[in-house]
Symmetry: C2
């Protein structure tokens, strides 16, 4: 059946009852599949198991600069670790700090520090201001939004275009409103849209006029090397762009190895101008005795070079790509041409961003849940959990097996159609 809306109510109702029957059959199976989070699957985690063999009890745990990694000392990372991951982020070794096991933790703490101490160049700490606001290109990452909520930072929705955030809107907001202190960006293979910011967007972010002198771009480059195929998106270097635009201190860059090695047992990185790095290092020196250096050794022994990382990421892709393909193929075969759903085909990252007709996302997610398919909560990809058009659903194909995925996405497509049909039939009845 093509474009649903062009069919008669009778035909739609008949098709609906066929779908309803299929749905009930699936429901009777007592399925329990989870496509809600960007979790690597077991096969992906297995790729890094050799990392656990070094250092072992017969190794020395000494870093290139002679540091015994089993003892106290060093708050910003081993030299060899900075060397490797500064290449991954395309910054200098003076522009990077190696953190603990969670880049989310670095982002949270960066905002906490801004509130209590301000950022480099702040005239007032953010906590002393009556109001702090962040721009939130959406759909986006729910955990970014949760940090803003925790700190009572007001979030402003910015539409996502195919080349990044709506820069017209971004530029207008930051030019006019001094209380806007930051913007969340996932610039490469974005969560959930899977798009990569264009050079123009990067340049405009770097050069735009901001009323707040201590405005910061929170550049969560979580998927920097997470390609799905040999077709790699290219992202312009934001730190260089900021320097070129005369705003060298504008950007805070974050990433981690959570989806290279182990999720939750990897290492995280913070990159920025030397001014920002020196300012932050001073605070970190009081906050902690420093990150786990043995885990850093583990990582640079397993990943000796960017070539190693690239080869390793190809192995991840060979596991992930078929999963994305199966989802995309089922979506294509079940939904295309019906004019009820739209989705992206990302070249990397962990998600497929799916849009229903307006006002259908919540109902689809609820219906899928009833049949045992757990999806990311509708609305989660927007600030305050509120999708203004109730249409975006984030599909996370990484964790389930291919068989599970196929079934899950079939059930999902049935739910999308049933909810859409109900809406279309209602509209026709009203019309």
């Amino acid at each position: 059946m093509h474009d649903f809306a062009s069919n008669s109510i009778q035909d739609l109702q008949e098709y609906m009852s066929q779908l309803r029957k299929k749905y009930d059959e699936f429901k009777a199976k007592g399925l329990s599949y989870n496509m809600s989070r960007g979790k690597p699957c077991t096969e992906q985690l297995d790729l890094s198991m050799k990392m656990l063999d070094y250092p072992n009890s017969s190794d020395s745990c000494i870093s290139v600069d002679g540091t015994d990694c089993r003892n106290y000392g060093g708050v910003d990372g081993l030299p060899e670790v900075k060397e490797l991951f500064s290449q991954m982020l395309e910054v200098s070794t003076n522009e990077i700090i190696i953190g603990g096991n969670s880049s989310l933790n670095l982002m949270h703490d960066t905002i906490a520090r801004a509130i209590i101490h301000g950022v480099y160049g702040s005239e007032l700490t953010w906590g002393k201001l009556p109001k702090v606001k962040f721009l939130c290109p959406s759909p986006g990452y729910d955990r970014h939004f949760a940090i803003c909520e925790l700190f009572d930072i007001e979030m402003i929705n910015i539409d996502m275009n195919s080349d990044g955030p709506d820069m017209e809107a971004v530029e207008k907001y930051v030019r006019e409103d001094e209380s806007i202190k930051g913007i969340w960006c996932i610039p490469k293979y974005s969560n959930p849209d899977g798009i990569t910011y264009s050079d123009e967007v990067v340049d405009r972010l770097a050069s735009m006029v901001t009323k707040a002198k201590d405005f910061r771009i929170f550049w969560d480059n979580a998927y920097v090397v997470h390609h799905l195929s040999d077709k790699h998106d290219q992202l312009k270097n934001i730190l260089e762009a900021c320097k070129a635009a005369g705003n060298p201190d504008r950007v805070f860059i974050f990433t981690s190895t959570s989806k290279l090695s182990f999720s939750g047992a990897g290492i995280s990185m913070f990159a920025a101008s030397e001014n920002n790095i020196n300012y932050t290092r001073k605070q970190i020196s009081v906050q902690t005795i420093g990150p786990d250096k043995i885990n850093q050794l583990r990582h640079v022994h397993f990943f000796k070079s960017m070539q190693d990382i690239e080869q390793h990421m190809k192995k991840h892709a060979s596991i992930l790509k078929p999963k994305f393909d199966i989802v995309l193929n089922v979506l294509e075969s079940e939904l295309s041409g019906k004019n009820i759903a739209w989705w992206n085909r990302p070249n990397g990252g962990y998600f497929i961003s799916f849009n229903t007709m307006d006002g259908c996302a919540k109902a689809v997610v609820a219906m899928a849940a009833e049949a045992g398919i757990t999806l990311t909560a509708a609305g989660a990809t927007f600030p305050y959990g509120k999708d203004p058009r109730d249409r975006n659903i984030r599909l996370a194909p990484s964790y389930p097996s291919l068989d599970e995925l196929k079934t899950a996405i079939e059930v999902f497509c049935i739910c999308v159609q049933l909810v859409s049909l109900e809406k279309i039939i209602n509209q026709k009845n009203i019309g």
Copy 2:
């Protein structure tokens, strides 16, 4: 030479020139020994090397509750880790959160959260108050004081007695001043005094009347199992004491395995009432994707029980005890009876707290440094780095070898005598 002050100026000057000669001889040797920090020595770190063999690439990394520790999930620790370390801290498994690699980080973040969000039961966040003050029993731990300085928390000196902080002073302050929100305590084998709080002190801390309703005891139980011999100090359970006194939410307990396994690559713990734990867990869930669970597995595989921990700590003691003994023996032979210095003989912990005559500590540390012996900076054991009597020096015997220690402490004793002699001779001349 006995009691210096009872000798003639001439005798003292003669003795001084002998010592000066010895000092110059040591100085000419170009020594470079460091007794400044409580760092475990290489032999201590070697005790835990077997920990690095598990999990390796052939292990499953699955926790007792089925969690794949290589993947996301879980913010407050694996069940088996809570089980073990709740025993160490004598709390229930619902009263503990397992953190990352740094208990200092937990303490810092606990205060940061109190400033931004308040603690459980706060009417106002601490950041909204015109002034926040902490009581600082001193001598104490410089890193506690550094956290207060970072957050602009005013520190109030409290004298340390042989059974803990001067409770008369503590009770008076907290009863009268609402802006006093906390007290730093290292209750067992304290840093640097090596004393353990008496039951009476614990009970008084638990039951005292505080004007601030959200007052907290920061109970840094860093040396909970760090005995130096079979003679163990006993510390009363503060959480139980707080519950018994009707103040169950008053205490925040911290510790880590930094001096059990590896310093900076261990795991940390936070223990408190369930109200406090639930309140904190909610915030941590936004802050981080959770601590490194693989490192948790490593620890509970190596330490299967409290018996394992106790046996392991005996091995640490067998390395540390001779170091403490050599320092104490040299102090005894060189300084006792001269009435110019006083020191403790701790049953555990990492330090010997040494007091010179008033006004001599800085000069002694500077003189030792000139001869290549690095000591903890004089004043570091007090808030703002200011020892009001300029007399306390923290000696950290753990890191240097026995030979190095012997020489270092000999030089130190010469410095103490030279500085004291100068003071005594000056006084006599004036007198």
